[in-house]
Amino acid sequence: MKNHTKESYHHYRTGDATLEDSSTFSGVDPKSSGTLTGLTNYEIPFVHEYPQAGRSVIRKEIEIPPSSEASKVVATSMVIVEPGQHTPEYIAVIRRRLAHKLIEEIENLGKHAKREDFDVPASLVLQSIKEALQKLEAATTEGNAREVFRQLRDSMLDGRWKDYKLQAVRQVSSNILSDMGKLDRVDSSFYRDSYRKLKKAGANPRAIIQITEVAVDGED
């Protein structure tokens, strides 16, 4: 007997989807499941993301094709309270704290600049930058700050961590983070400036970059 599992995750945001919104979502593609024979497992996960406190009703309609064999339908409901949905002021504090922490780590790289295995301390800084990005991931008001963190991350990827042996690159990175650690909001001009500063210091924040006047993540 064949066992087929069809799984399709659907994420619902209470802020985005209207209540009783059933038209957008369907659990399993009826076309693909129509040819199945034997016991067919249907797993239907309901993922609820709550960016804001509120109430949401999720209705999902799926079509199970006729079959001579039994069908097993398992529906699971998962509630995710997104940690990033805080007030902009709180997230700004978190961003400033992350920036101050990274300044120390980048400045400490100077002590290891002559080591052959410089990639070891550099990878720890890279890890911290990635963690900072994760912490700010869901914040709707920190898109420009995330872009700056991405620039710093990218400036260390693909062997470019070697650039951080240069005092000028470390200094510019620290200065960018220091400036970002003083701001209530990071605007789009900030990340454009930071890109230019990094390039000028000898770092390569991104292999291919398109800087336009359009703000990242929909921010001004």
């Binding site: 805080h86 007030t87 902009p88 002021e89 709180y90 504090v93 400033r96 704290r97 101050h100 220091s178 650690g181 003083k182």
Partner: protein, 248 residues
């Protein structure tokens, strides 16, 4: 911070001295002198005490047998009229005939909204100061309130800082225990001055309670002393907020 938002705090300036029976007889005379200096109209007289209401500065000045106290809702007057207020103290000291007073105490309790929710402010405290407290989560549950109290010497003054997050309800309750509110305006439950003040501060906020005490008492040159005490309190509050909000 306090200078930018003086309306979010309650202020006290207190001079204590050894009580003497003669002071009760002179209290009303001292009150009259203070009234002249503050250009305040209203006054109340009790047994051995006198209270001058200064509605313009939202404050009152109390002369008692063992202390002189200035109290205000909002502390803008401390920044703008410190010379007048210190002059009022010196006038009262002169009329009472005080030669020795105990260390001067200034106490300001601010309620600063961070634009954050109460749990967020708690988290700020927890991450910055109270990481070991997270171990207590195993015992009871998540920390919902935290209190940070520091005591030391700053600029030559004995300084005590108490800071903690407050919910809107806690602020409303806390205001009820502020002493002497009945002296502000009308003496009833619908006192508009107090109600307006409470409404302006009642929200999820960070409470900063700072008390600075001078090393010794003095009867003259109070303006300079008050200014130094105020600057010490203001800088302590500003630095605390900058630390909490990660501004460097």
């Amino acid at each position: 911070m306090l200078r930018d938002h003086p309306s979010l705090a309650v202020g006290f300036v207190q001079l204590q001295f050894e009580p003497h029976l003669a002071y009760s007889a002179r209290a009303s005379l001292a009150g009259a002198a203070v009234q002249t200096v503050l250009k305040a109209v209203d006054w109340k007289l009790g047994p051995g005490s006198c209270v001058i209401d200064d509605k313009i500065r939202r404050s009152h000045f109390a002369i008692e047998t063992r202390r002189l106290q200035y109290q205000s809702l909002g502390v803008k007057a401390l920044f703008t009229d410190i010379d007048t207020i210190s002059h009022a103290f010196e006038s009262a000291i002169q009329v009472l005939g005080l030669t020795e007073i105990q260390p001067v105490r200034m106490h300001i309790h601010g309620f600063f909204p961070f634009g954050m929710t109460h749990p967020e402010i708690v988290t700020l405290f927890l991450d910055e100061f109270f990481q070991p407290a997270s171990k207590f989560q195993k015992l009871v549950g998540s920390p919902t309130d935290l209190l940070c109290q520091l005591h030391g010497v700053k600029n030559g003054f004995d300084v005590r800082l108490t800071s903690y997050p407050m919910t809107t309800d806690q602020v409303r309750l806390a205001v009820n225990v502020i002493p002497n509110l009945e002296h502000f305006g009308r003496n009833d439950c619908f006192n508009p001055i107090v109600t307006e003040f409470v409404d302006s501060i009642a929200r999820d906020c960070c409470s900063l309670d700072v008390e600075a005490v001078s090393a010794k008492g003095q009867t003259t040159g109070l303006a300079e002393l008050f200014r130094d005490l105020l600057n010490t309190i203001e800088s302590t509050m500003t630095e605390t907020i900058k630390l909490l909000k990660a501004f460097k």
